[in-house]
Amino acid sequence: MTDENRPDIEGAPDRGLPTEGALLDTPPETSLDFEALDAAEGMAVEPVTQWKLFRTRFSRHRLAMLAAAVLAFMVLLAIFADFIPGLRDPTQPIENEAGQLMLRMAPNSEFWFGTDNIGQDQLSRVIYGGRTSLQVAGLTGFMVASIGTTLGAIAGYYGGWIDNLIMRFTDLVLSLPLLPVAIVAAAWLRDAFEGKEALSLAILLGSLLWGTLARIVRAEFLSLREKEFVEAARAAGAKDRRIIFRHVLPNAISPIIVNATLVIGVAIILEAALSFLGFGVRPPTPAWGQMAAEGGRLAVNAGAWWALVFPSGALILTVLSVNFLGDGLRDALDPTQTIERK
């Protein structure tokens, strides 16, 4: 028995958060007003578009909305970092009038996040670091979505030996121990692609993390393939590619979105871990993982808690928001009923 035949508990990737259940479920509330409406008398529900349904459900998750807002803010910061007034160069050690380097300064009104061991302004480093991390994560998410969806769709739709081949390959990739392999690959990249670190890291992570999404997409396609609308489309003479893209894929889109979001969170953490170990983005380019590593040492040896707290805090906040968002999306796009009505 292979992994595919196992009862599918969706969403069990190596670092994905699992299945159903809203993030913070609230017990159902009672509503008291049930006067029959004249116009809608006896009719169950008026038809709503999928988008409207999604919006309603999503807006119920205040945490997810908050998370989305936080992420949006961070993305904006990252994109427009250059235009923030008063933001210093993250790679430039600061000197005061006397020409002394402002080393390891605690947070004060001038340096909101303090300075580090070389005298660089932590605030700007954290913001620019965010740009790096988010770039890598975003690109990774895109890659994972592309590769995973393509392979999963082909495998699920065509079945047979293509399915077998692709799934064996996917299993292979999925069974590689993530961090050790990433480290070796990153070491190679670090020497081979001096300077283009963010891009190469994204490609590396993207190549390792697509497996779970491919499996999910394949499962979706396997089941959707049997549905009548596919047969109808085929009977009408539609070509395979058209069927896949116009008919099946839109129905499979929700698990793709959810999973891609969660993968972004994983990518951020992975990139941070690699940077921490020295295999990711290297100084002087700021990256949260590497800053946290340096900061940890500073915190222990010189009591410079801010060097650890701010980069770590940024990391945690970002990933947390991504995860909340992903959870909210999952709930809004794929509602599961926990109360049966007979």
Binding site: M1, R6, P7, I9, A12, P13, D14, R15, L17, P18, T19, E20, G21, L23, L24, D25, T26, P27, D171, L172, S175, L176, P177, L178, L179, P180, V181, I183, V184, A185, A187, W188, D191, A192, G265, I269, A272, A273, F276, L277, G278, G289, A292, A293, G296, A299, V300, L308, S312, L315, I316, V319, L320, V322, N323, F324, D327, T338, E340
Partner: protein, 328 residues
Amino acid sequence: MFNYVIRRLVYGLITVFALSIIVFWLLQSTGGDPLDRLKANPRITQETVRQMSEFYGLDQPVWRQYLTWLWGFVRLDWGRSFTGVDMVRDLVFERLGGTLRLMMTALGIAVLVGIPLGIYQALKQYSFFDQAGTFFSFVTFSTPIFVLGMLLQIIFALYLEKWTGVKFFWTSGMNSTNYSNLSFFAKIGDTLQHLVLPALSIALISIAGYSRYQRAAMLEVMHSDYLRTARAKGLSRRTVITKHALRNALIPIVTLVSLDIAGVIGGAVITETIFGWPGIGRLYIDAINLNNWPVVMAVVMSIAIMVVVMNLLADLTYGWLDPRVRYD
């Protein structure tokens, strides 16, 4: 059943084999020559360098080197480390125990804490405990392990010591230097003092994942038809939960734990760096940085084989638990 095991081992072998090729190629493609340091040293002559090259087989074409390595590997002759005179095999075996100790402890804690947590959350759905637990899971899960490790280090080792004057936990090494002089109980205590923080760093993240998963699995079981049948038969709530629900709810988590093993290994690699733990993780990183590829290959292989074996064990456990899945 026997066939299944064989088949899985073969797949595992193929994976390990493929991995070895990938990693070997990556290591060779790195510009760095393991003998760089020697070459840079002006006192070493060209001739010596050439001799060493030959000795280590570095003058051979890549594919030749690979085959030589492979042949040696399966015969447990793992060659010599480039950074000293140690035999790679000795190095790895020496450190493997440390990593295993860390991993097993972390997994043990995660399973023993995470799973009951998830079950209890499901039973008390919507309660404060449930909500708090979910929140904790999310936050922990979103925290990179090195942050967790450093935080634990700082809070429980440094600050705790500062405030209480007592050294509760050690932050480096597996045992203190005076270990062999300690009494039996002191030995256990010392080991634990060193083990707790690093194991916890790894375990906390797994706990977050397991409890969420288990909660969902338990909830699904709670709403199942067969549980309704059990109630309709007049069984007490306790019997319904402990006999009918639990057994089913514990099946899915086996899959997750099995997948988590690779993650725990990764966590060990990082944790060993933070806590100065003598395991293969640190060995690995040091070796990569020095281009000491025999060591790197040996560690990667060890890890890969470990993962294959553990996954197989997890699969067999799954089959034992779920009668629908008896392997043939």
